[in-house]
Amino acid sequence: MALKGRVAALSGLLVASLAIGMAVGPADLSPGAWLGALRGDPGPAATILWRVRLPRVATGALTGGMLAVSGVVFQALLRNPLAEPYLLGVSSGAAVGAVCSLALGLSASAYFALPLAALLGALAAIAVVFEVARVGGRLDTRVLLLAGVVVSAFLSACVLLILTFVRAETLRSAFFWTMGSLSGASWGMIGAMLAYGIPAVAVILGMSRHLNALTLGEETAAHLGTDAERVKRVAFVLASLLAAATVSVAGVIGFVGLVVPHAVRLSGVRDHRALTPLSFLVGGSALVLADAVARTAAAPMEIPIGVVTAFLGVPLFLVLLRRTVRS
């Protein structure tokens, strides 16, 4: 099957990206030490590999994959190739939720409280954006993006305001929350991401045919047997949940949800049964590689990963915007 072939090829890409991500870093490991640590030799190389780099690349792969799937869903529901969690304000909303829960000390108890607060923030943000962009019962695409960007700017300001007043150890830097970073990755976070991500992606995969139908328009989808309102509600919450989960562990990272699904569509994939898993794999690989660039381009300093994704994503966004406005 064509899909199986593509999944295999892109899984290979993801594994290669993970290997590259684990090979590069500030500590210069010789290939021998690297391979030895992989085989289980104890020592500093093993500590770096298993405690630092592997959690980091694994978090990167999950974050990239989940952001890409979130973008796929938003694009299908809004019938707009420019929709993605960052540009819709979903990610900044999640950041506000996350920072609030940290500032109030709610999340000291569990990794699970933080993504939940982030989800509430994400849903609140998208509710505001939708309310602004709804003109006569329809979502106006241009207003939607404008509202998303403005709400996003406001919420970033809120994050910075909270960070100014609350100086707790747990809060991390403004850089982290506004431009993202995988530096805080840990196995506990990966567990939390899997707990949120696997069920969400599984349900989204199960809704693939409905998402396909929705790309024909809500009314047509309903005539084809899709309960459009219910599918939309569930999918919006799940897409927001995926974005919120990534924000809680890696901060706000833009444009992955935009660029990756678009690249997969360019290769001719339209069916969500293929688009979703392929976007996950490509998104995971892309973010692991972006993080490798972020760590090495200006070593020993680390560039925020959101800067790397923005440098790649903004030009593409502008091209897409021109095309959408013209048509």
Binding site: G206, L216, T220, G225
Partner: protein
């Protein structure tokens, strides 16, 4: 009887007037019913009531004895298919994929289309003469081809009831005639029930068994074309004088008066 509307009224939120007012309608299985009337008369609203997309505020709308809005979308999609004039504008999929969407109410989320689904899709493509264009991108189709593709998608749902919402609005005379003759053929040979919203009185008169003339949300008249196509009724509905000419085998033709001076002001 497949559809039954009893005293149905519906009002859109924020509007002062009812979009439909105390409408009674019966659709017999295997007949072609045309809904005609001026812009904003409530024709498309009536269609949405029939598919259960809208729920009447007053009265009842039943399909096969069950309230239309109470049907599960999936079950309704196996019974009734809709062809309208819009939708999927910038969707980049093949004609075959578009028609395959008609199998949506029959397939489970995970499994691929079964051989029978593919067979239905193939026969529907053949049926509307699009087999040669099956792998073409939907965006490359002409208006007439696109409407045939939408009809094929609707037929792939294997419906008993076909609802048409101005399906020929963007088609020229020849394509419109072919489209409507095709639909009439399905009614005659497979007793497909058709409810068609149209602006074209003469097309409706030619193809429909019954016509329903709506104006301002009310049914002015319903019955066979010769009962509905009466000058005073049409003038009341369209606010323009209309004559009816009987062309024998070619049927009844509604012809608006030229330059009705006393009407041009309003």
């Amino acid at each position: 009887m497949i559809c039954h509307l009893d005293g149905v009224s519906y009002r859109y939120r924020g509007r002062p007037e009812n979009a439909l007012h105390e409408v009674n309608l019966e659709v017999e299985e295997g007949t072609h019913v045309a809904l005609v009337g001026p812009n904003g008369a409530g024709k498309s609203t009536l269609l949405r009531i029939l598919t259960g997309m809208l729920r009447p505020h007053v009265g009842t709308a039943t399909v096969l004895g069950r309230p239309a809005h109470a049907w599960k979308r999936r079950d309704m999609a196996r019974l009734a298919a809709v062809v309208s004039q819009s939708g999927e504008v910038d969707v980049r999929i093949s004609v075959r994929d578009l028609v395959s969407m008609g199998r949506h109410p029959y397939v489970s989320p995970w499994s691929p289309l079964a051989p029978r689904d593919h067979a239905v899709v193939d026969s529907c493509l053949l049926e509307v003469d699009l087999a040669a264009l099956a792998d073409r991108d939907v965006g490359e189709l002409s208006g007439g081809e696109l409407q045939r593709a939408r009809l094929a998608r609707a037929l792939a749902q294997e419906p008993r009831l076909l609802l048409l919402d101005e399906p020929t609005a963007h088609l020229d005379l020849g394509h419109e005639a072919r489209f409507m003759e095709r639909v009439r053929h399905y009614t005659d040979t497979q007793s497909l029930t058709v409810v068609a919203v149209t602006h074209h009185l003469n097309v409706a008169a030619r193809h429909a068994d019954r016509m329903v003339l709506l104006s301002a949300g009310r049914v002015l008249e319903q019955g066979p074309p010769e009962a509905v196509l009466s000058p005073p009724l049409l003038e009341a509905a369209f606010e323009w004088p209309v004559d009816i000419v009987d062309l024998g085998e070619l049927g009844l033709q509604a012809i608006p008066h030229p330059r009705a001076a006393e009407w041009t002001e309003s």
